[in-house]
C-alpha cells in the first residue's frame, strides 16, 4: 500500500439486498485499490457472499452504487460484471461437471473458427498453456471435470479468472475444499496476482490466512458492516472480536 491513494478500483457505496424480510446486506460501503487484497470477514450468514454477488452480478442489488475506476457503473448480470473485468471464484464451484476443463474455462467466451464453429483444439491448447503456469501437475484435460479432485477443479476456476485478464477478482472461500498443498498454491497465486496489480476481495474464515494475505479486512455482522481495518494494525484476537461481538477494537474505535 502506498500513501498516495488514487481512485479506488472498486467502490461499493450503501449496498442493500434483502430476501423477503431478511436484510442480507444492509447499507454496506467498502472499497478496493489496485494491487490490494481486502478480506471480507464475518460469521456464517453475515452477508459476505451476497455482498460479493451484488458486485459479480449474480444477484441484483436493491440499493446502493457501484463505482469502478471512479465511474459509476450498473451491474445487473454476470455478463455486465465480466465486461468490466470482474471475475469470480465461487464458494460453490461454478463448473459444469459434464464438460472438460477447456469447455469450462471458456464457457460463455468460447473460441470459434472462421466458420463460427467451436475450436475445441485451440481451447484445449490454451488451457494447457495456462494450467502449465498455475498447476503444472494438471493432466486431465479431456475428461469431464466431475472426475477431478477439489483442488484440480478449483485451479480450473482460477485459471478462468487469470486467462481472461481479470482486473478485479472475487474469491469466495477459494480454499474451503482444498488440501494443505493446494491451499498453499492458491495463497501463492493470490500473492502473484496482487503483484500484477489486480484487486482482490477474499472471503475466508481462516483469520490466520487473512492476516497473511490481506492488506485490509472488512468485517460484517448480520448484514451490516462492523468496520474496515488495516490488518497490520490489529491482532488476530481483535479481528475475532469484531466478527463475534461486532465491535471495533478499542484502540481503533473512535
Amino acid at each position: 500500500m502506498t500513501e498516495t491513494r488514487t481512485t479506488p478500483l472498486v467502490e461499493l457505496r450503501h449496498m442493500k439486498k434483502a430476501f423477503g424480510g431478511i436484510h442480507a446486506v444492509d447499507d454496506v460501503s467498502i472499497d478496493l485499490y489496485p494491487g490490494e487484497v481486502v478480506g471480507v470477514l464475518g460469521h456464517n450468514g453475515a452477508g459476505k457472499s451476497v455482498l460479493m454477488k451484488l458486485l459479480s452480478g449474480a444477484e441484483r442489488r436493491d440499493g446502493g452504487q457501484i463505482f469502478i475506476d471512479g465511474r459509476e457503473v450498473d451491474i445487473n448480470t454476470p455478463r455486465d460484471a465480466r465486461d468490466l473485468g470482474i471475475e469470480t471464484i465461487y464458494q460453490t464451484l461454478a463448473l459444469a461437471d459434464n464438460l472438460d476443463a477447456a469447455a469450462n474455462l471458456f464457457l460463455g467466451r468460447e473460441l470459434v473458427t472462421a466458420t463460427g464453429m467451436l475450436d475445441d483444439a485451440r481451447m484445449e491448447a490454451e488451457t494447457r498453456k495456462i494450467m502449465a503456469r498455475l498447476n503444472p501437475n494438471f493432466r486431465r484435460y479431456t475428461t469431464p471435470v466431475a472426475g477431478l479432485s477439489g483442488g484440480q477443479r478449483q485451479s480450473v476456476a482460477i485459471a478462468r479468472a487469470v486467462y481472461f485478464n481479470a482486473r478485479i477478482l472475487i474469491m469466495d472461500e477459494p480454499t474451503a475444499a482444498l488440501g494443505v498443498q493446494e491451499t498453499r498454491m492458491v495463497a501463492e497465486l493470490i500473492v502473484e496476482l496482487k503483484r500484477q496489480g489486480l484487486g482482490i476481495f477474499l472471503i475466508d474464515h481462516d483469520i490466520h490466512a487473512v492476516k497473511q494475505l490481506c492488506d485490509r479486512a472488512s468485517v460484517m455482522k448480520n448484514g451490516r458492516l462492523v468496520g474496515t481495518v488495516k490488518v497490520d494494525e490489529v491482532t488476530e484476537d481483535d479481528l475475532l472480536g469484531m466478527i463475534i461481538l461486532g465491535k471495533m477494537p478499542e484502540h481503533l474505535a473512535a
Binding site: 464438460l99 463460427g116 467451436l118 483444439a121 493432466r139
Partner: protein, 432 residues
C-alpha cells in the same frame, strides 16, 4: 502468453484395440443391436435380416428417431417433453389441411401442384416451432415445470388437431408430399450409390480434418493404421447399408404399374431396386445437423453446460431462459418434420397419428444413453435407441408374439437399459 504447453502425457503402451479409441458406450449399443438382430434372424428362419425387412425397419424408425434427437437436447437440459406425439398430430393436421383445402381451393392451385408440398411443409414447421417456443417460454420465463407444461400440451394439442380437421381423416395427401413417407419416395440405385459415396467422402474428410486440427496443436493422435481402420469401418458401414437397400427390388407388378402410369410398357425382364428412401436421407441430415449443433456450436455447448450445472451456466453469462425457448423450439421443429414423414407414410392424416409417440421418443433417447439427471446424451445414441426399440417391436411381431406381450418386453428393456447404464457409469466413476 509465451509459455509453451507441457508435452502431453505419453500414453502408456496400450492394446491394439484401445488404440482405435472407439467409444465403448457406442460399441455396447451396436453390440446389443446386432445381438437383437441375430436373435430374431434365427427365430424367423432368416426373414429378419432380409433387404426387405431392413428397408422396412429403417423407414419405420425414422419418425421416432427424428424426434428422439430433439428429445436428447430436452432431457440434457433437465426437462422432459410429453407433448411430442400431440404436437406431431397438430402439425400433421395443419399440413393436411393446407394441402387439401388451402392450396387447392383458397389459393386455387388445384390438386398436386408442385408448390403444394413446400407450402404445406413450411406451414407445418412454422406451427411446430411456434408451439415449441411457446412451451419453452412457459418453462423458461414463467418457471412452470416442463413436465406440467407438456402434460398440458399432450392433451391440448391432441385435441387442437381434432378441431383442425373436425375429427376427419384427411387424405389422400399431395403426391410430392408423399415422397417423404418412405416406400413412396426412394432414390433408386444410382442416386443411392452417389449419396453413399458422398457420405463416405465426407466422413473420411471429417476424420482427417479432426486429425489435422489435433496435430496443429501437437496433441497426440491415433496411429495412422488405427485411423485407417476406423475409416474403413465407417466407409464399409455406409456402403454396406446402401448395398442392402439397393438389393431390395421393386416387385414386378408395382414396376409394371409405374410404367403404365407413364403411358409406357415395361420392357421384358426389367428390374429396379428401391434404394435409399428420402425419409431415411432426411433422418441422416437431421442427425448430422443435430450432432454438429451439439458438438461444434455455442448453442450446443450451452445446452450441455446448462444441463450439467444450471448455476454455472447462469454465472458464465448464458441466457438460460432463452436457451430453454430455443431447445423447445427445436423440439417443435423436429415434431413437425416427423409429422411430414409419419403422415406421408400412411398417405393420409388420421386422428390417432403420433399417439404414444412421446413414450417411444423418450424411451429411445434414454435407451440411447441420455441421462435424465441432465447434461449427458448423444444424438447417435438416441437414433440407435430408436432403432433397437423398433427392431424389438418388429421382430416380435414377425415371430408372432402378441401385442400386449410386445409392450411388456419393450417396457422391461427400457428399465434394463437404464440399469446397465447406471452400473456402467458407476464403474467409470462418473458422478451423475
Amino acid at each position: 502468453m509465451t509459455d509453451t504447453a507441457p508435452p502431453p502425457a505419453v500414453p502408456a503402451k496400450r492394446s491394439l484395440f484401445a488404440q482405435l479409441e472407439l467409444d465403448n458406450r457406442l460399441l455396447g449399443m451396436i453390440g446389443a443391436f446386432v445381438l437383437v438382430a441375430i436373435m430374431f434372424n434365427i427365430l424367423t428362419d432368416g426373414r429378419f435380416l432380409t433387404p426387405r425387412n431392413i428397408f422396412n425397419l429403417t423407414i419405420q424408425t425414422v419418425s421416432v428417431a427424428i424426434m428422439a434427437t430433439g428429445m436428447v437436447f430436452i432431457i440434457v437440459s433437465r426437462h422432459i417433453d410429453l407433448s411430442v406425439g400431440s404436437v406431431l398430430a397438430t402439425t400433421s393436421a395443419v399440413m393436411a389441411m393446407v394441402q387439401t383445402v388451402v392450396t387447392p381451393d383458397w389459393l386455387g392451385l388445384g390438386l398436386n401442384h408442385p408448390a403444394t408440398a413446400p407450402i404445406a411443409i413450411l406451414a407445418g414447421l412454422a406451427v411446430g416451432v411456434a408451439i415449441g417456443a411457446f412451451h419453452g417460454w412457459m418453462v423458461g420465463y414463467l418457471g412452470i415445470p416442463a413436465f406440467i407444461v407438456t402434460l398440458g400440451g399432450l392433451l391440448v394439442w391432441r385435441n387442437v388437431a381434432w378441431y383442425v380437421t373436425r375429427g376427419q381423416t384427411i387424405g389422400p395427401l399431395d403426391e410430392t408430399f408423399q415422397l417423404f413417407g418412405g416406400i413412396n419416395g426412394t432414390l433408386g440405385e444410382t442416386a443411392s450409390w452417389i449419396i453413399g459415396a458422398l457420405a463416405a467422402v465426407a466422413a473420411v474428410a471429417a476424420l482427417l480434418n479432426d486429425r489435422r486440427r489435433k496435430q496443429a496443436h501437437d496433441f497426440p493422435v491415433k496411429p495412422l493404421w488405427a485411423e485407417a481402420t476406423v475409416a474403413v469401418i465407417v466407409v464399409g458401414a455406409i456402403m454396406g447399408f446402401i448395398a442392402v437397400l439397393n438389393s431390395y427390388e421393386i416387385p414386378t407388378r408395382r414396376l409394371a404399374r409405374m410404367f403404365e402410369a407413364r403411358g409406357e410398357t415395361m420392357p421384358e425382364g426389367y428390374t429396379a431396386a428401391y434404394g435409399l428412401p428420402i425419409s431415411v436421407l432426411l433422418l441422416i441430415a437431421v442427425a448430422v445437423v443435430m450432432t454438429v449443433i451439439a458438438r461444434r456450436t455455442r448453442l450446443g455447448r450451452y445446452i450441455y453446460a446448462n444441463g450439467g450445472n444450471p448455476d454455472a451456466a447462469l454465472l458464465a453469462g448464458i441466457n438460460t431462459r432463452f436457451l430453454t425457448v430455443k431447445v423447445f423450439a427445436i423440439m417443435g421443429f423436429l415434431c413437425a418434420l416427423s409429422a411430414v414423414v409419419a403422415s406421408a407414410r400412411q398417405t393420409f392424416h388420421s386422428n390417432d397419428i403420433g399417439t404414444l409417440d412421446e413414450l417411444r421418443v423418450i424411451a429411445a433417447a434414454v435407451i440411447g444413453g441420455t441421462a435424465l439427471s441432465g447434461g449427458i446424451g448423444t444424438i447417435h445414441g438416441a437414433i440407435l435407441g430408436a432403432l433397437i426399440m423398433q427392431s424389438l417391436q418388429s421382430g416380435m411381431a414377425m415371430v408372432g408374439v402378441d401385442t400386449p406381450f410386445q409392450n411388456i418386453v419393450v417396457g422391461a428393456v427400457l428399465v434394463l437399459a437404464v440399469l446397465i447404464d447406471t452400473i456402467y457409469r458407476k464403474r467409470l466413476g462418473v458422478r451423475t
